[in-house]
Subunit: 198 residues, 2 copies
């Protein structure tokens, strides 16, 4: 059983996961081993970005265990709905993609039930799942060497965007020539209750 | 000058911001005051979700200062390119939206230059910007009472999705009837270097 993951004590990681994520959920544990696996295959000292293919738990494991966060732009979510992540050199895109291998997970009954959600969550034992994930270590995952083809998330289009006051909401947005911000163009997610006051 | 923000010492927050985000960037400071402002207008003890309208810095301030993270699904990014965030009751959607008010920021020269990026970053003084943001406190921001209309990010479509092995990559994905995962349907972000091996 691996006692450390990504260089820190497993128990300490559990505490960090509870504090940051709310619970030491299975995805936080699997994520830690996926990051551990990927980084073990990459040169130390390079600067990396990360892509998570699921928004469930994985981004939080990345944010706890690497310098990459959503807000600093080094972590990006590309939702393919596969349980996978890629850690790659931010300059040349070369990296390692780690995913849950459905053949390998077959022999870990509790981890398998978590992964497929084929029995109700209330009937799953979190303790058994974590035991499986620890016991498995890197063994649950497949790896691929990849070259990532996307730009740094904060760079796309932004170099040419101009700060402009939206002719709808009168707030400042990043315009590529448009007069209306994306919210006033239809991407609004709320209704205002009392305009201009709180 | 506000010595605390979101209930913690400002200097302590700066250290947390550096540790998590990499730097105590202006957006991390503005974000903290925006969260502080919004929560001061909301009942204590309710359970909240957050929407950030920019992926720059704001999500990291939220993740440091609230229980909401990207990976636990309580924080969502709706990129309108406006510098704004909304904190809202996760059950009824009622909340407060806080945004940078372009009229109010006019009198804060350093903060204004940061916001509009109208002088090169190298010529801006981080110290002056932070001084402006602290001096301003809540004064830089507008607020709106809103009702948020989006679903919890992790719930959309997922209740009816089935775990299926993709007929392309042979990995497990969440299918709504499709045989190919989103990556194999075109949303792939990488090229594989050496198939099936690392």
């Amino acid at each position: 059983m691996a006692e450390k993951v990504c260089g820190i004590d497993f128990e300490e990681y559990l505490e960090k996961a509870e504090s940051f994520h709310g619970t030491a959920a299975p995805g936080m544990i699997a994520g830690a081993y996926m990051i551990d696996y990927a980084t073990s295959l990459l040169p130390q000292g390079d600067l990396y970005d990360v892509v998570c293919e699921s928004g469930h738990c994985l981004p939080d494991a990345v944010q706890l265990l690497t310098p990459c966060t959503v807000g600093n732009g080094w972590l990006r979510i590309v939702p393919t709905t596969r349980y996978a992540l890629t850690i790659y050199n931010k300059y040349n895109g070369e990296g390692v993609r780690v995913f849950i291998d459905h053949e390998k997970i077959e022999k870990y009954t509790a981890a398998r039930s978590w992964f497929y959600r084929d029995i109700p969550k209330e009937q799953q034992s979190l303790e058994d799942i974590i035991h499986d994930l620890r016991r498995a270590g890197h063994d649950l995952y497949g790896v691929q060497r990849v070259v990532v083809k996307i730009q740094h998330p904060h760079n796309e289009n932004e170099r040419h965007a101009e700060s402009k006051i939206c002719s709808g909401c009168r707030e400042v947005f990043k315009s590529m020539g448009e007069q209306l911000c994306p919210a006033c163009s239809g991407a609004v997610y709320y209704e205002q209750m009392k305009p201009d006051t709180a």
